[in-house]
């Protein structure tokens, strides 16, 4: 029985995929040809992919992004990262339980010349900002090379099945990320000035004006460039808590990759740490894939993502535990339960408020760190360089797309060709980057016999598709600030077409009308595959996500363009204005065990997962060895592992603080290439004589 997603409301599931056989530890399995080996393994129920050579602790997938090496297994006799090695017929996989052995190979060296590329502008990362940046540079006449580390363009857009916020004119608001990726990649591919390298991470920027690139996990080459755009996105911050290394604990991005890209049903029930947009959207993606979401927690007193996102998730039946932190993750070999607890004003956990949930996956969505090391390096060398998108500042992809264009203009200026930028662009860029603003009271409407919208969008966010989609201009932004952040309001004239209902990315709009003296009719958006039919009774939630009432389904329509169902339900008249959404998840899923028994030893939490170094060891070392340079922590091997310190070094400042040292007085870790490990045979551009290519 394979764990795969067979139906999905938004993603198209291919009718036929080519299945191939492979072996794992000698037994035969089936996987989809060309999918990452890690995904094939997880689809076949493998969650422990290796055991750490130091203490034999189980390791599972972690980044699903080729960045760490948690998923290394032996493929056809050689250690490979299974998340970036694509499955082929008859592959032999062996799970690692010790250091890998390298084959005794005596075939003489037969390398070929190094691959060389040249361009005016090298774009590091073909996501939302890289693509718009590339187009802008190409339009200005530069020859552009996009180096993208995945097998297709689009970056995080490819994982985003939700509709975008922002404005329709500037960043495709109301369109789903996956569709925006398609539109932008098409434009880029058709542009004569743009060349694209896929599966090609940039691994170094060198002082002599070259970038090192690792193409197709096979060849190393160098790229001569004149200007650089760093649009490499962001990496997910890991969290330090006991059990953070158990297979089943991983980043929300890795989850989206497995579920939305590879269509692997990676989990049965998840819990999410972090109520930013990433965590909220991961919950929504899980529900769409048929995965239960036991809850979301956040240490802060307020949701950090958009309120409309949070409200939407709550209405679907997912509780958000604010003022709660993750205490521990536990399980034998794989994650079985997690415990959260309330925190006091200083964010210390109150252990007697622990709540234990039985889940098989814990998603970490505790924030993002820009991938901007190359920016600093290029600056140091004096090259023209700009950052764009999340690599510059963490914000929504809508902002990244606009920011990419602006960054391209700035790069051109540095390269000696100034293109005027209107002030309005800068204003807009700032606006799209905005964090959610004030929350306003929203006036209720007076019920009528014709449809009118109830707009539950009360927090200032940069978004306007409801306004631009309305064919009769019945919705406007209430001009308090006179910009995109203003709150939408209904100004009369609704014809009941439902366009605003189906386009709103926050699913925050319903249409309501008085049907008769006892009943009201409500038109609700629904982004799932309906498991009900006309005549069924379905549970409905109020604005805050509590039970409102049941509704009788009268009509089910499907808006193909937005891939959204419009569900007409009839409810008692007195509930007309309280119904805000359709509950999709059974409340049983979200219950916690009455008696929490967490093993809570925070000093045992791993900071460096690659080399298995704990918080306790590091703090003690900092104190006893009077450490004032983060590089000294390498004595314990922290930061020396395969990920190159990408996951652990972000925690070092906090450790120094705990050890009583002001992190300001400590030298930060020095970033050194390579950012991805590369086999020597690739550096010398050797074809492997033992490998069929």
């Amino acid at each position: 029985m394979q764990h795969r997603i067979r139906k999905h409301p938004i993603l198209s599931i291919p009718d036929k995929v080519e299945m191939v056989s492979f072996t794992c530890n000698g037994k035969s399995y089936q996987g989809v040809k060309g999918e990452p080996v890690a995904s094939a393994l997880i689809a076949n129920g493998f969650h422990v992919l290796s055991r750490h050579p130091k203490d034999h602790a189980p390791k599972g997938i972690y980044c699903a992004n080729g960045q760490c090496s948690n998923c290394t297994v032996i493929i056809n006799g050689k250690p490979q990262k299974s998340c970036v090695t694509l499955l082929e017929e008859n592959m032999s996989v062996r799970l690692l339980d010790d250091l890998p052995e390298i084959p005794n190979d005596t075939v003489a060296y037969h390398g070929t010349l190094q691959k060389e590329y040249t361009c005016d502008v090298l774009i590091v990362g073909g996501g939302p900002s890289g693509l718009t940046g590339a187009l802008e540079c190409a339009e200005m006449g530069y020859s552009v090379l996009i180096a993208e580390d995945k097998d297709r363009l689009g970056g995080k857009l490819l994982l985003q099945t939700h509709k975008f916020f922002g404005s329709v004119d500037d960043c495709y608001a109301g369109t789903r990320g996956i569709d925006i990726a398609r539109i932008l990649s098409e434009k880029v591919r058709n542009h004569p000035n743009i060349k694209i390298l896929l599966n090609s991470p940039i691994v170094a920027i060198y002082e002599d004006g070259y970038a090192g690139v690792f193409t197709h996990s096979k060849y190393y080459g160098r790229i001569a460039f004149k200007g650089l755009m760093i649009s490499a996105g962001a990496r997910e911050r890991s969290l330090v808590f006991p059990g953070n290394d158990l297979p089943g604990v991983y980043g929300a991005g890795a989850f989206q990759t497995l579920v939305n890209r590879d269509l692997v049903l990676a989990s049965k029930r998840i819990f999410i740490v972090g109520s930013g947009n990433v965590g909220l959207i991961a919950a929504y993606h899980a529900l769409q894939a048929g995965i239960e979401v036991a809850g979301i927690c956040d240490i802060l007193p307020e949701v950090t993502g958009y309120k409309v996102h949070a409200d939407k998730i709550r209405r679907m039946g997912v509780p958000i535990w604010l003022n709660h932190t993750i205490l521990s993750a536990e399980g034998r070999d794989v994650l079985q339960k997690i415990t959260i607890a309330q925190v006091d004003k200083s964010f210390r956990p109150l252990l007697d408020t622990g709540k234990t949930f039985q889940v098989d996956t814990l998603l970490i969505a505790a924030g993002l760190t820009p991938i901007d090391e190359y920016y600093d390096v290029a600056k140091r060398y004096g090259f023209p360089v700009v950052k764009a998108g999340d690599a510059g500042e963490i914000a929504e992809a809508s902002s990244a797309m606009f920011g990419g264009r602006l960054a391209a203009r700035e790069l051109s200026r540095q390269m000696g060709k100034e293109m005027p930028v209107r002030d309005e662009w800068y204003r807009k860029a700032e606006l799209l980057k905005s964090k959610p603003g004030k929350v306003w009271d929203v006036a209720d409407i007076q019920l009528k016999e014709t449809f009118q919208p109830v707009i539950r969008c009360s927090q200032e966010i940069p978004c306007n598709p409801c306004v631009t989609s309305c064919p009769v201009n019945a919705i406007r932004l209430n001009p308090r600030r006179h910009d995109l952040m203003d709150i939408p309001e209904y100004i009369g004239g609704c014809t009941g077409c439902g366009k605003c209902v189906s386009i709103c990315p926050g699913l925050a709009i319903v249409l309501v009308r008085k049907k008769n003296e006892k009943q009201a009719e409500i038109m609700l958006p629904f982004e799932f595959i309906p498991d009900f039919s006309e005549g069924s009774h379905i549970p409905l939630s109020d604005a805050a996500g509590h039970d409102a009432c049941e509704g009788e389904v009268r009509r089910i329509r499907y808006d193909k363009k937005t891939k959204t169902h419009l569900i007409h339900v009839v409810v008692p008249l007195d509930k007309a204005l309280s119904v805000a959404g359709i509950r999709v998840q059974n409340p049983e899923v979200t219950k916690y065990l009455p008696n929490p028994t967490p093993e809570y030893f925070p000093e045992n939490a791993l900071v460096c997962q690659c080399e298995r170094v704990t918080a306790g060891e590091l703090i003690q070392f900092i104190r006893e060895h009077q450490v004032r340079d983060m590089n000294q922590l390498k004595v314990l091997r922290a930061g020396m592992g395969a990920c190159g310190g990408k996951n652990c070094t972000v925690h070092f400042p906090a450790l120094f603080k705990q050890a009583g040292v002001d992190p300001q007085d400590v030298v930060p870790v020095k970033f050194r290439p390579l950012s991805v490990e590369i086999p020597l045979k690739s550096i010398v551009n050797e074809e492997d004589p033992h490998e069929k290519i």
Binding site: E207, D208, Y220, R628, V667, E677
Partner: protein
């Protein structure tokens, strides 16, 4: 003003061990360092090899002492420094190199070094899979080995602190208070340090530092590049040194450390002069080609990280050890030519003995390294 018996300038591979050995002799020691912590000059870039099998008596003598110290470090001091006695192997593919290395064996045997000519079969057994075409054998010295530069300097720092050494970080040397032949005190950006004896252990900065005293000390940094791979199961034990010249490089060397990672380094030819430690695109393909040529199975290893470090070179390739010309109380431990890490422990111990009056025993050997020598010889095995 602070008062010490000895002030050491530079908390690196040389200064830190010396501070420990001096403090153990009951002297009050200050170490002044411009960086935030120990080992942030070139110790961080050292790859970790330690051998006594040099070509000259002085370095042989010092490194024998180093080997004796590091091989007993854990039992004597309790610190694990990742010492691994894998030996050094110089595989030989040309008649010229065979003659040169065999000639050297005579000198090395004179100094009681355990090193011998290993035939081709032995070389192939010690380095399974080494490129065999044209392989003539090589020299092998089983008592040499490697340790972690990071761990060793950290251990010495802890030991030094425990025996009372004061470290002063983020302090750079300004001027000296001196009369004709004596330094009285050294001024930093923070304080004034008076002492009876001063030591230059400033590594790559030596020339600039000594210019402040009107001394022209011929130490000229060159940069070399190094790298490290992922860890794999041990598949060979010795440090392998290939002394053949290649395109853009002279020799290169690599070994597998106690974690299972292969650490490698190459000597650029012509040398890259100066203090620039930024990576260039030339190094990785160059060293990779040479490594896979010599040892094809390395092709399967993944490179994790690369870096550049400085070799503070002298005109003849030998260190400067001894009293600074024209000074009675200023000792130079400078121009280690990229071997500061392996020389440091032995040199520290020996220098401490010199300072406490046992110097005579070493005069004849260290004479060769005296700073006022003529620099007309040249080191055979850099």
């Amino acid at each position: 003003m602070k008062k010490y018996d000895v002030v050491i300038i530079g908390a690196g591979s040389i200064g830190v061990p010396l501070s420990f050995y001096l403090s153990r002799k009951g002297l009050k020691i200050a170490v002044i360092e411009k960086n935030h912590s120990v080992g942030r000059g070139q110790n961080r870039a050292a790859i970790g090899g330690i051998r006594a099998t040099h070509s000259d008596p002085a370095k042989i003598h010092i490194c024998k002492r180093s080997l004796d110290i590091v091989s007993h470090f854990k039992e004597n001091y309790g610190y694990d420094i990742s010492w691994f006695q894998g030996g050094y192997l110089f595989p030989v593919y040309t008649q010229k190199d065979e003659i040169a290395l065999k000639d050297l064996l005579t000198v090395q045997h004179k100094h009681d070094l355990n090193i011998y000519w290993a035939d081709r079969e032995e070389v192939e057994a010690r380095v399974p899979g080494i490129y065999s075409q044209g392989l003539r054998g090589g020299t092998f010295s089983p008592e040499d080995g490697s340790a972690s530069p990071l761990k060793l300097i950290d251990a010495y720092t802890c030991l030094a602190r425990d025996s009372g050494v004061d470290f002063f970080f983020n302090e750079s040397v300004g001027n000296y208070e001196k009369d004709n032949q004596n330094i009285h005190a050294v001024k930093t950006n923070k304080d004034l340090y008076a002492a009876g004896l001063f030591v230059d252990a400033s590594g790559a900065d030596s020339r600039e530092l000594n210019a402040r005293l009107g001394l022209d000390i011929p130490v000229f940094p060159e940069s070399h590049e190094g790298g490290i791979t992922e860890p794999v199961k041990h598949f060979f034990e010795p440090m392998i040194v290939d002394i053949r010249p290649g395109k853009g490089s002279s020799n290169f060397y690599f070994y597998q450390n106690d974690e299972g990672q292969v650490v490698f380094c190459i000597t650029p030819e012509p040398p890259i002069k100066g203090k620039d430690c930024e990576n260039t695109s030339e190094f990785l393909p160059m060293v990779s080609r040479r490594m896979v040529e010599l040892y094809p199975r390395l092709r399967h290893l993944r490179v994790r990280r690369i870096w550049r470090g400085l070799y503070p070179m002298t005109p003849d390739g030998f260190p400067l050890v001894g009293w600074a010309p024209g000074f009675n109380n200023y000792f130079l431990l400078a121009g280690m030519c990229g071997q500061g890490f392996m020389l440091g422990p032995g040199l520290g111990a020996i220098t401490a003995e010199i300072f406490t009056g046992k110097a005579s025993a070493y005069d004849h050997i260290l004479h060769q390294l005296r700073p006022d020598r003529s620099f007309n010889q040249s080191e055979l095995l850099k």
